[in-house]
């Protein structure tokens, strides 16, 4: 597993985390290239099925970034995301699936460092865990 590189799909909210990721770039903060960003308007617009789909189609982890609680550009979208994640995690756990492959983090437009650190941490975490078992399970 020495050459194993985890694949992460990232759903970044347009107003906070995407801007935080831009700031990490502007500040030239290096982090592993394992995450593929998908810009969404709001973390509240990320359907749980997007996460499942990414996992089933080969991602080793899914990252979701939103505005801090109380700071949502759309008033309450991040609360919706948070509630959805609690439910999603409990479903994952009850099915015996690894819920720590899905991360939801609040990263503001001012937190470039936090963005770079979070992606680094997640990549290292998934490196330790090894490839996702999801995709193999679908081989009939």
């Amino acid at each position: 597993m020495a050459d194993y590189e985890p694949k992460i799909v990232g759903f970044l909210c347009n107003w906070c985390t995407y801007a935080g990721a831009d700031l990490a770039g502007t500040s030239r903060m290096q982090y592993p290239p394992n995450m593929r960003p998908i810009r969404v308007m709001c973390s509240g617009a990320v359907d749980s099925v997007y996460i499942l789909r990414a996992l089933l189609e080969g991602a080793d982890g899914v990252f979701m970034g939103g505005c801090h609680p109380g700071d949502c550009h759309y008033v309450s979208g991040n609360y919706k995301a948070r509630r959805r994640m609690v439910l999603f995690n409990s479903v994952m756990q009850s099915l015996g699936l690894e819920s720590d492959r899905v991360w939801l983090r609040w990263i503001s437009a001012a937190e470039g460092r936090k963005f770079a650190d979070t992606i680094t941490e997640m990549t290292e975490h998934l490196q330790k865990k090894g490839p996702s078992p999801f995709k193999e399970k679908w081989e009939v």
């Binding site: 290096q30 998908i38 810009r39 997007y50 990414a54 189609e57 109380g70 309450s76 919706k80």
Partner: protein, 673 residues
């Protein structure tokens, strides 16, 4: 990723292209990908030739080109030419973040006849080249980002920007100096303004002040010409003693319901003679005088009030509470007293709203060791302003509250609740260093043999003439003592202050006749409540958040709301006035247009699928989705829809779609591995 094959999966147009939701043309898309070098910012890390080659093999891509600076005129021309010569129906520009040049390239596409919403940005600078050192890794990641963007762009629909008409009237909430300035600027440009103030008269905190730093000109003298102008302005509709009940609608077309509190005085009949004020026996706390004197039940804030009409405090009025008295009605020469007055609701329609809700002082009783509330001679800065003010309860003589004696020693305590994350607020309140220096100077003007000591942590004087003013205070014999005050308590008729002198490295005990606390500036609680009601953003301390801290300092992220004054953060009068004029300029810039554009990436309903369950309606934070109960179908008001996409997720039947962020597109974007 080493095993990345750069293949494009699932981006072919679906077989059911006639489906009502996904009705894009069934032909194979013709996508042009333009890779920007950004000088060496991208090209220095991402291997451009390799990227072009790999992108060129992706399904749907008919042309790939690169250029040193795509955002330059020749770069844009290259894209425009290619759209025509290569018959492109989709464009991807792989360059910097979409926040920088999405509009640039979309406009360029529009000029070449391509719908601007069929142009997408692949961010390979901020989120790839600048964060990845390894050239191979960066090239692979760039390739992945382009591929994800390609997946999106082939699903994108041509959209037309929505336009809505503008109601060219403005609402200004709060008539302190910020609201007054904004209202006057807008009104002087010829537009109507509704100015709403919760107090019976306008002027806000500035009307309480004695003199202003660093010029020491009288606050009343510079404020009253403005309040009078505001009161008389033909374009300003002044609504005092009123509060915002609700706001509905959207930028350009707000409906505002204003609650006019019961005044018990008919403003049209009243002449403001003041006979009632002299005779009223009812007593109450006076907000304006900061508790230094008891106010009357019928009152006006100050003799120069605009409008110069009193109101009755129903809780303190003997007639309204006990049914006896009625003195004011008896003495009123014009019969203006109306004991049967009730709250009235007034509806106003406006296009823009300026929020100038102002500040309050931090509740110093929370600073338990400072003796506020227990020691009568510990007062806050605004109370001391009232003592200094010629129109204040002592007519400008400095007399301490407990026994009316002239204090010979005053200790001023700075940062009382500011820069204190344990019991107070963590931020600097910005104005206290200067107003404390001013108050000490003014005290010495009034009491020539008085001794003033200022306990400070740091003295901050970043303003025009501020440092010179501070120097004037120190030269005047005012003692500055560097260190935090730990305790304030009463001993006999003295107030004792325990402080430290960090420069000498010792503890000090000061004996004073009176202590003035420079309490922290906090967001006005009514302003915080209003911000919550309007769903505009506030920070952790309740200050309203601007759209961008540097480049959009007076706008909010909610279109149509603008900020002025201390509701946005602590600031002094010149800064407040400047910000108010800036907010007015933004409102006027908006009023200069006939219609407003609105992003078309809104939600839309497929009525054939919708069963009217109403999940979308309950999810929407903007009341933009409504279910018609008769037809059992949801409908989106595109002008209200902010395009967050929450309803599309909530919809259990898949009837709701977020335009150009369809589930199908995001599914396929997530499939990229």
């Amino acid at each position: 990723m080493p095993n990345d094959e750069c293949r494009l999966t699932g981006t072919q147009p679906p077989a059911d292209a006639q489906s009502t939701i996904d009705n894009r043309q069934s032909k194979i898309p013709r996508v042009g990908v333009f890779v920007c070098h950004c000088g060496i910012n991208i090209a220095g890390v991402v291997k451009i030739p390799e990227l072009l080659e790999r992108v060129g093999t992706m399904s749907g891509v008919v042309v790939t080109k690169d250029y040193k600076y795509c955002c330059s005129d020749p770069g844009q021309q290259m894209i425009r030419d290619s759209i025509k010569s290569d018959k492109l129906d989709r464009v991807i520009v792989a360059c910097c973040s979409p926040t920088l040049h999405e509009t640039t390239f979309r406009n360029a596409c529009g000029e070449a006849g391509l719908n601007p919403y069929l142009c997408e940005i692949a961010n390979i600078r901020e989120q790839c080249a600048w964060v990845t050192a390894d050239k191979d890794e960066a090239t692979t990641k760039a390739c992945g980002i382009v591929r994800t963007t390609l997946t999106k762009v082939v699903h994108d629909q041509p959209l037309e920007a929505l336009t809505v008409p503008i109601n060219k009237r403005a609402l200004v909430v709060g008539a302190g100096i910020a609201g007054i300035q904004a209202a006057l600027d807008i009104a002087n440009a010829g537009y109507e303004v509704v100015l709403v103030e919760k107090e019976p008269s306008i002027g806000g905190h500035m009307a309480q002040l004695s003199e202003t730093f660093p010029t020491l000109d009288c606050s009343q003298c510079i404020l009253t010409p403005r309040t009078v102008e505001t009161g008389r302005h033909p374009k300003i509709r002044l609504m005092t003693y009123s509060e915002i009940d609700s706001v509905s609608g959207y930028v350009g077309n707000f409906k505002v319901k204003v609650r006019q509190k019961a005044r018990y005085v008919d403003f049209k009949t009243c002449t403001g003679c003041g006979a009632c004020l002299e005779k009223c026996p009812g007593r109450t706390e006076s907000w304006f005088e900061r508790g230094l004197v008891r106010g009357k039940a019928i009152y006006r804030l100050l003799p120069q009030a605009v409008p110069n009409r009193p109101v009755i405090d129903a809780k303190a009025c003997i007639y309204l509470t006990k049914g006896k008295c009625g003195v004011c009605a008896k003495v009123c020469p014009t019969g203006a007293i109306r004991y049967d007055d009730t709250d009235k609701f007034v509806e106003e329609e406006v296009g823009a709203i300026v929020l100038a809700t102002g500040y309050e002082l931090f509740d110093a009783t929370k600073l338990g060791s400072y003796g506020v509330g227990r020691v009568p001679d510990v007062i806050d800065g605004l109370a001391f302003e009232r003592l200094l003010s010629a129109s204040g309860p002592t007519s400008g003589d400095v007399k301490r509250p407990s026994d009316g004696k002239v204090p010979k020693k005053i200790v001023f305590v700075q940062c009382a609740g500011s820069r204190d994350s344990t019991t107070g607020m963590p931020y600097c309140s910005k104005i206290c260093c200067m107003y404390t220096a001013k108050q000490a100077i003014l005290y010495r003007h009034r009491v020539h043999d008085g001794q003033a000591t200022i306990c400070y942590i740091d003295v901050r004087t970043p303003g025009k003439g501020f440092e010179e003013f501070y120097k004037r205070a120190t030269d005047d014999g005012i003692q500055y003592l560097r260190g935090k005050v730990s305790k304030i308590f009463r001993e006999g008729d003295k107030v004792m202050v325990w402080a430290s002198d960090t420069l000498a490295g010792r503890k000090v005990e000061l004996e004073a006749d009176m202590v003035v606390l420079a309490t922290a500036v906090v967001a006005n609680p009514d302003g915080v409540a209003l911000a919550r009601k309007l769903k505009t953003q506030i920070d952790a301390h309740g200050f309203m958040t601007e759209a961008h801290p540097k480049l959009r300092p007076v706008e909010t992220l909610t279109a149509g709301f603008f900020l002025a004054g201390c509701g946005q953060g602590p600031k002094d009068i010149p800064e407040t006035v400047a910000q108010a004029s800036a907010a007015a300029a933004k409102v006027l810039a908006m009023f200069g247009n006939t219609r407003l554009t609105h992003s078309p990436t809104t939600a839309e309903v497929d009525e054939e699928i919708c069963v009217g369950c109403g999940y979308c309606e309950r999810t929407c934070a903007y009341d933009a989705v409504k279910v018609d109960p008769a037809r059992k179908k949801a409908a989106v008001n595109a002008a209200l829809c902010e395009g967050c996409g929450a309803c599309a997720v909530a919809c259990p039947s898949g009837a709701m779609t977020h335009k150009n962020f369809t589930k199908k597109a995001i599914f396929e974007m997530a499939d990229q591995f």
